[in-house]
Structures are given as C-alpha cells and as structure tokens.
C-alpha cells in the first residue's frame, strides 16, 4: 500500500493522542488503535518501514508507541 498514506494516517493518530497528559496512556492508545483498526498487511508494512528507514517521517510519539508495543502490532502468524 501507499507508504506515504500509511505514514500520514499513523501521524494523524499520533496527533490525537499527543494531547494526553499521561505519556504511557498515549503510547498504549496509539498502539491499541493500530492493533484494533489496521489490517495486518498495513501494520506489517508500517513495521517494515520502521525497520528499514527508522520511521523517519513518523511523529516521535508514534515511533515511540510502535517501539514500546511492537509485539502487539506484529500480525499474527
């Protein structure tokens, strides 16, 4: 899928959770949202982007969420 679009969508999610005063809750919120609503091939592509390009265009909070909760985001085998 269009990686640019996936990055844009992930950053939009990050923008919503950035306002939360509790950082850990925000990171869980981001990863939970990606887990609950993104189809596995989208999550897989996002994780590959993080691995290949260090997620350079992702907001820091999104990158932190992905790194903190990577296991949750990996598609089930």
């Amino acid at each position: 899928m269009d990686m640019h679009n996936l990055i844009h969508m992930a950053n939009q999610i990050g923008s919503f959770y950035e306002a939360m005063p509790d950082q850990e809750e925000a990171l869980l919120g981001i990863s939970g949202h990606l887990h609950n609503f993104w189809e596995p091939r989208m999550r897989k592509q996002l994780l590959e982007y993080v691995d290949a390009e260090a997620g350079k265009e992702l907001k820091p909070i999104v990158l932190s969420a992905i790194r903190a909760h990577r296991n949750q985001l990996s598609p089930r085998p």
């Binding site: 899928m1 269009d2 679009n5 844009h8 969508m9 939009q12 999610i13 923008s15 919503f16 950035e18 306002a19 939360m20 005063p21 509790d22 949202h33 887990h35 609950n36 609503f37 993104w38 189809e39 596995p40 091939r41 989208m42 598609p75 089930r76």
Partner: protein, 948 residues
C-alpha cells in the same frame, strides 16, 4: 401486516395528562385525559361525531359547524372539537335539532361543490361525501345558478398532486397542516368571505411557491381538492401494507396502499413512531424508481469491464461469481477479496453479507457505506458513552428547551424530524446553529436561531473546545452529575485541558472565524437554558477530526448533565435509512454484530460455534484500505451489495483506478450504477417494496420492512446472498428473514429480546431490547452509562492538512438537498428532478465578483485531486471563502474534487473540507469528457446484453 385503508381519525390530537375527567356521552360514561376534546372523547368510546374541518393530526379549528353537540345545562350548540371534556358533562351528539343544523351546513357546502362524485378521484375516500350521507342530505335547495367556484382552474403544476379549487370547502386543514405539521407556512387562505380560497405562496402555482411538496396538505384534505396524481390515474387502493421508508435515517412508517401488486400511494402512518403520520417529498411521492424502466432484471456477466455484458441465468451468474472468488483466493490468498454491506438494504441482508465474508470468504474484509458518513459516531460515542448510537427518541425533542444543531441541515436531509424540531422551536425552545452556511434553520418562518456560529469548515473541534472552556471557566459544570456518573480522573484531565487559555473563545476566534462573544453566549445558553439536546450530522463526522468532534459533543453533554433523560442527549442524524442497522449487525471489518471486536475471543467463539467456522481475530480492510490494496495488487475481488462506491467515495479517479485493477467485482443493485460499470458480474437487486426485513433508524428503532410485491428479478437480496454463499461452499439455511433476525437476537446481547413477532406487536423496538428492557430502550444511559462511568476525552484541535493556498484559496464543502437523496440513483429516476435537475456550485457574491463569475455561468472547480465543471449559483447563504455543492448527479463529479484526507480514527473521508480554486470556463473538464465517453461506452455494452 395488512392495515385498514383509512386509519381511524379521532378528530383532535391526543392529550397527555395525569388528570382524568369522566363525562357522559349519549348516556355512556367516558373517561379521558384532561384536555381531551368532546369530539375525541366520543371517538375513543366509539361515537363518531360528524366533522369536516377536524382531523386528529391538527389542533381543533371549529369552523365547519358540523360537529355541534348539545351539552346539558349549556345554551347553544358548541363545537365538540374545540370544547374540552369536563367531569360531569352530559353530552348529546344526536338530536333532531342537531340533525337539522348539520343538514343545513352540508347543504350550503354542496351548493358550491361539483356533484361529480361518481367520476371524482376521491370517490370512496371523501369525507364530504361521507358527511352528506351521515347528515341525510337529499337535495340542495339553492341551485347552481348563482355565483360559485365550480369552474375554477385546476393547478397541476406539482408533479405529484393537483389542486382543484372547485372542490375546496375552505376547511383550512391544508393550511393548518402546512403550518402545524410541516412548518413551512407555504399555504394561506386568500380573500375574504365568498372569495376565500386556498393559496400557495403569493397566489402562485404550487411549483412556483415555497411549498416543499411534503404532502401533508394532500393527506389532510377531506375532499379531492388536493389529490395525488397516482390516485387520479389508478383509482383508490384496495389494500394497504405497513412498511418503512427506504430513504433517510428518520425511518418513517408508511402504509403502502396497493391495488394488487401496484402501489397506488404511500401514506405516512400515524402509528410510525419516528414520523407520527408525517413525511417528506421523497418518502411520500418519490417511489416511482422502484418500477423504473432502468431496472436491471436479468443477471449478467462479462470477463473484463470493457467487454459487453451477457445476460445469463441466476445459476450461471452465481456459479461464475463463486468460481471467480475461489480462483482469486487460490491465486492471491484468502485476504484478497472482500464485501460491502449496504446501508440501504435490510438488517438481515447486511447480516448475511458480513456473515458470508467471515465464513465463505474466511476473512474480515467487510465494510459498509457508514464508513464514509457516520463511522466517527460509532467510534466517538463508544469511547465516551459506551455505545455506538444516539441516546434519544425523535419525540424527545418535544421536551427540549435548548436545541444545538451542529453540522446538520435537517430541513433538507432529515425533513420529517426537522418539522418536529421546528414545532418545538415555535413553542419556545431556543436554537443554536453551528454551521458554516446560513442554513434554513437559522432564519425561516417563525424560527430564528438565538445564536448562529458560522464557523470556518474544519474547525468544529476548536469550536467545541471553546464552548467547553466557557462552561468550565464560568462555573457552569453539572458537578453533581459529573461526580456521580463520570470517571473522575478523565474528567479532571479534560477540565484542566479545556480551561487552558489556548482553548478560550478569544484564542479560538481567529481559527473558527466566530466572535468570542457569540461563542460565550451560545455556551451559556446550552449550559443553563434547561433541557439541552445536541443534534449533529455529517458536518461533524466527515472531517479529519470527525471522531474527535463526536467525542467533544459527548463531553459537552456530560459536562452539563444533558444526558440520560428526555429532552437532552447526543443525537446523530444518520444519513441513509439503515446506517445505524448496518453498523449494528457487524458490517465493520473490526467488529462482529453488537459492536464487539474480532479480537475478543469470547465473542469470536460464540460466532464460531454458531457458524461452524474459524473467524479471523485480526481486523479486515476498510473501504479506502481496499482501494489502496487493490492498487498495490493484493486485493482483487469484491462483492458489493447496494452501494455505489464510484459516485459516493472521495477522489473518484483513485476509486476507479482501484476498481479497474481488480479481477472480479460483483455488484448487486437495482440499477446500473457507476460502480457497476466496472463490474464483472451484475446481480439484480430488489427494492424495499419487494422484500421482508427490518431497518434501524437514527433512534435505534427497528421497524419492519414488508414485501408489498414480488421481487421483480425473482429473488430478494437476502436470497441471492444465500445462494452465493452456498456456491462458495458455505450453507445458509433460512426460509424467511425473521429467522435471520432470530439468529442476530440469539448472538447479540442488545438484540436478545428482538423478534418479528415482538416488532409486529409493538410496532417498532428501540434497542437495547433484552431481559433488562423487554420492550426496548427509548432513552439510553438513564442511571448509568453503558460503559459504566462516562469518560471525558481530551479533544485537542488539530488543523486539517487540507489548507487553503494561493493556488487553492477557497474551501469546498459538500452536502445534500431536500428533493434528492445521496448519489441520486433513486431520486434521479423520479419527478423530483423537477426541483433539482443538476448539482450547482454555490458561491458568495464577493468571491463570484472577484472572479467574474455570473449566476448560472459555468465554473471550473479545481482541487489537488481533480477538476470538474458546474453551473454557479451566487448565494449569500455562503460565507466568503467557502463554496458548496451537492453530489446527486454522477456527471457533476463532486467527488472528483474531494481528496482522500480522512478522519484519524475511522478513515471517514473529509468531504467537508477541500481546498479549491473556482474560475469561469466554457466547457466541461477533462474528467467529465472522459466520464461521458466511458458512460456511453458502458451503455452500449449494456445494450448489447439486451440484444443477446
């Protein structure tokens, strides 16, 4: 359910009072609610007092003098319609004197009325005729030589009904219906005495007046003065079946009046809880599409979408579709196909499509057109209140003191509810409108908004935060409610957030474009004006922050304690007839029926046991994800029931590129819509008149849809899905949609108590309906929220990425109008095109003048996504910098311009904000020329199928 053709008319409206009065009518003791008229008290006890100007949908008027009665101890002959029943009264409804008086009145009426009963369209259904019989009139002594109205000219301008003044008895019922029921005030009585006549507008033909053709006047007319043209053409119906309208999310109940399998007319049902006997021009009149010659009635297949269609048998079409889906899955994998549930089809049909995807396809790639309208409602309300639905009944608005309408134009999009709302506003409720446009609600006959906040498109969240800021910082919070009903930690975090200076109306006014003073006034009114209800529409949801705005609305309701009782609440005005239902029954790729996530193993196992398959625990693709996956080659097949993705989804060229990249698209529809032009299999659909089922409206009300004629193509849609599933190797065994509903009820806690038997008994049911609420739940969150404690959520304003620039300096926002519905596939095939035959671009005079644009001239609208050309309508309804159009005609290409920007949580497209430039032009856009060529080519390929 067969209904009697004419519902009993009690003469005056029902009164609700805890006090009762007991009186004697013709020697019978009758007990009624205080305030009830003598006429109604008599009718409720089976005594029908003659009447002409009275009908139970209108307040009593007391003009016809037929309903005179005698009351012991009182002088004269009072009108029973305007005289309230009182304890101890002794009333006589029949006596020689009364008979004589009534006969005299009737004689006067008939002295100026054509005696053509045998050839009159109302013959057999005329109250004047009935009263002539009841009063025993045998002759008219005055003759017809004097001055009369017998040769008055008939007005046939309206496509659906005629006005024949020669038959008018000036009872005022039509005028009162236009005022009281509809609230348009288009009709009046012009002239005095003998010259008194019903007049539309300024004595204009109906079509030139401000009449909105709701038909309330036609329904109220006791003679053939206002008469449906269909009745004139066909004659009176011989039976009637109660069903539910298939247009907007109001879900009006109708009696389909039939002659055999032919619809004679649709009459709104007094028993319909959503509409209580009212309707709009679409529901009452625009049903002709169901038998339109454009209906495709034979299944068709083709190898490529550029090939001619070939008409085939149902068996061949279904075999081909199933074999293609299997081939694609074998080649590209299990997740390479999916399905689309229609929000126009029934709950039962939607349930079967999502079940087919989850069983026969073996994945969760199912979505519904709610994706592009109210998916943020589902998400936002679930997060805050715990349930993905509105909190009230429509009738609840009768108890509202303050009505806040944000991002909705119910006058056009939900007209029957708008009439109900206006009635309450005329009775004194105060109105706040938050909308970039000066919609009709802001200022219309007898309605004036206390506050209109004309915000810039895309700034709803900023506005909601500013309103919340006022409520928090001016001490207007409902502290007791919050303390007992809401999560404390979340509330404190939200309170501290909205109290920040950056969220004040003063700080936000540069963003919203609305003065702080107005915002403060509106916030104070909402918080302190009594029962306050919020109604919202797609102007809230179809934004990059759509879900955030829905949460912001829920926050406001909780902060002021305006939730959990009548007259308050959070009320999404759903777009299509069954948007609520299609979401309820598991059409989203992440949820099973009842809004339970697919990763919830307990729920999944429940369905796995019932369905006999393993269900994927991962969410599937949403509609826009399907397009992206199609373009990257991993999504190749789609079963699309009753949805036109090409015309309704944003960035048309992106959508068509995706569809063109797929190998098997199966479209099930009643017409060859824009999506079907890219299809490989066409399965003829059935209209709402041709099948049994249920729709769920915006109030969570489940109402029956009843088959009034056989399916024109041989099968109802649910039967087709069953056959497709069987050919894919999954057996579905249902003999009737009631069995499908039984399965939904068995597997869904909020539906446990729902059955066709109960719906038939109660008329309709608002879910949740289960052991805790055996007859349904009119008002939600009464004692506690569905999620337990209400959860405030911080809603920070984030500007959309769709920003105006020098190249694209205007904001385009889209919407709908009264006479057309959604992509217009139904209403374009009715006489409703007489009101709206093309989409127009509305632009403020300042913006028009700056660009040399003339009213009615062609203009190009260009965005980052594409370009189209429409005629301009220069209008002060717009604010400078904002332009507006509708999307009812495919050739308009409104969605060629809209972009793929979408809501952060749900991917609901940001239809309401597109940066554009508008300039005068002289020819169609390149896309329109291509579209015209493509459409003609597809019509030729369709014509070839019919020649085979």
């Amino acid at each position: 359910m067969f209904e009697q053709l004419n519902e009993k008319d009690f003469g005056t409206p029902k009164r609700n009072s805890e006090q009762e009065v007991t009186l004697e009518i013709d020697g019978m003791h009758v007990t009624v609610a205080a305030g009830t008229s003598i006429m109604r008290a008599a009718a409720e006890s089976g005594v029908n007092i003659p009447k002409l100007c009275a009908t139970d949908s209108l307040e009593p008027f007391g003009s016809c003098r037929l309903c005179l009665v005698e009351i012991e101890g009182r002088k004269g002959y009072p009108a029973s319609c305007t005289t309230p029943a009182e304890t101890g009264m002794k009333v006589r409804t029949q006596s020689p004197k009364l008979q004589s008086l009534r006969k005299g009145v009737m004689e006067l009426y008939l002295s100026d009325h054509p005696l053509d009963c045998l050839t009159c369209a109302a013959n057999g259904n005329c109250e004047l005729q009935d009263m002539a019989g009841v009063t025993g009139l045998r002759e008219v002594r005055y003759g017809y030589d004097g001055e009369n109205h017998l040769h008055s000219k008939k007005d046939e301008s309206n496509p659906y009904f005629t006005y024949d003044p020669s038959k008018c008895i000036v009872c005022n019922r039509c005028v009162r219906a236009c005022e009281e029921t509809q609230g348009t005030f288009a009709l009046t009585i012009s002239g005095r005495g003998f010259d008194s006549r019903v007049s539309a507008g300024q004595d204009q033909p109906f079509m030139e007046s401000e009449c909105v053709s709701c038909g309330a006047c036609v329904q109220a007319c006791p003679t053939a003065t206002l008469q449906e043209k269909s009745v004139i053409a066909i004659g009176q119906a011989e039976h009637s079946i109660e069903t539910t309208c298939a247009y907007c999310g109001v879900g009006c109940g109708f009696n389909a009046e039939m002659k055999g399998n032919q619809v004679v007319r649709m009459v709104p049902s007094k028993n319909g809880r959503a509409n209580e006997g009212h309707s709009c021009v679409k529901g009452r009149f625009a049903w002709g599409y169901a038998t339109h010659q454009d209906r495709i009635l034979k299944p068709m297949i083709r190898g490529k979408f550029t090939d001619p269609w070939r008409e085939v048998s149902w068996a061949e079409a279904l075999d081909y579709a199933a074999s293609e889906f299997k081939r694609i899955q074998n080649k590209y994998g299990r997740d390479s196909i999916g399905g689309i549930v229609s929000s126009r089809c029934t709950n039962e049909e939607g349930y079967l499509v999502q079940k087919l995807v989850r069983t026969a396809f073996g994945n969760n790639n199912v979505d519904t057109c709610a994706r592009v309208c109210h998916s943020p409602t589902g998400y936002g309300l679930k997060q805050t209140l715990g349930e993905s639905a509105g909190t009230q009944t429509f009738k609840s608005v009768e108890h509202s003191d303050v009505i806040l309408v944000i991002g909705a134009n119910p006058t056009d999009a939900h007209p029957v509810f708008a009439s109900r709302m206006k009635k309450r506003l005329r009775a004194g409720a105060r109105l706040i409108v938050i909308d970039p446009r000066k919609t009709e609600l802001v200022s219309s006959p007898h309605i004036k908004a206390a506050f209109h906040l004309p915000l810039k498109p895309g700034t709803n969240v900023a506005m909601l935060s500013a309103l919340a800021h006022v409520i928090v910082t001016e001490g207007l919070l409902a502290n007791d409610f919050i303390a007992s009903r809401c999560e404390d930690t979340a509330f404190r975090a939200w309170r501290d957030f909205v109290a920040l200076p950056e969220n004040s109306p003063e700080a936000m006014q540069d963003i919203t474009g609305v003065s702080a003073e107005l915002v403060r006034g509106a916030a104070r009114l909402y918080a302190t004006g009594g029962n306050a209800a919020i109604y919202y529409g797609l102007g809230v949801t179809e934004h990059a922050q759509g879900s955030t705005a829905v949460m912001g609305i829920a926050n406001l309701a909780m902060a002021t304690g305006n939730i959990g009782r009548e007259g308050v609440g959070v009320n999404p005005l759903r777009g299509q007839n069954n948007v609520q239902g299609s979401c309820d029954i598991g059409s989203f790729p992440h949820e099973l029926p009842g809004y339970r996530h697919v990763s919830d193993s307990t729920t999944r196992h429940l369905f796995e046991q019932a369905w006999g398959v393993e269900i994927q625990a991962e969410p599937g693709l949403r509609i826009p994800n399907m397009f992206d996956a199609a373009l990257d080659g991993s999504f190749k097949g789609m079963y699309c029931q009753g949805e036109d993705l090409v015309q309704s989804d944003p960035n048309t060229q992106h959508v068509t590129a995706a569809l063109a990249a797929m190998e098997c698209i199966v479209v099930q529809d009643i017409f060859m819509n824009e999506t079907a032009m890219y299809a490989h299999v066409f399965l003829p659909g059935s209209s709402f008149l041709e099948k049994d089922g249920t729709f769920t409206n915006a109030e969570r009300r489940i109402s029956r849809v009843r088959k009034v004629m056989p399916p024109k193509a041989g099968y109802a849609d649910w039967e087709v899905t069953i056959q497709l599933a069987q050919r894919l190797g999954y057996e579905m065994n249902y003999q009737h949609p009631s069995e499908i509903m039984d399965e939904i009820a068995r597997l869904t806690p909020t539906f446990h108590g729902v059955s066709y038997q109960k719906i038939d008994a109660l008329g309709s049911i608002q879910w949740p309906c289960n052991d805790d609420a055996p007859e349904g739940t009119p008002t939600m969150h009464v004692d506690e929220f569905v999620r337990g404690k209400g959860r405030f959520i911080i809603t920070k304003y984030v500007a959309t990425d769709e920003k105006i620039t020098r190249k694209f300096p205007l904001i385009l926002t889209t919407g709908r109008i009264l006479s057309q519905y959604n992509v217009g596939v139904q209403t374009r095939r009715t006489e409703n095109v007489q009101w709206h035959e093309q989409d127009l671009l509305e632009i403020h005079p300042h913006d028009a003048e700056e660009r040399g644009i003339q009213d009615g001239g062609w203009v190009s609208i260009q965005s980052r996504a594409g370009e189209t050309v429409l005629r301009a309508k220069v209008s002060e309804r717009m604010q400078p910098g904002v332009v507006y159009t509708t999307f009812h005609f495919p050739e308009s290409g409104a969605n060629v311009i809209t972009t793929e920007n979408s809501d952060w949580a749900t991917n609901c497209p940001e239809y309401k904000v597109t940066a554009v430039q508008v300039m005068p032009v002289s020819e169609p856009s390149a896309w329109q020329k291509t579209h015209t060529r493509f459409s003609k080519a597809q019509q030729a390929l369709l014509a070839q199928a019919k020649l085979v």
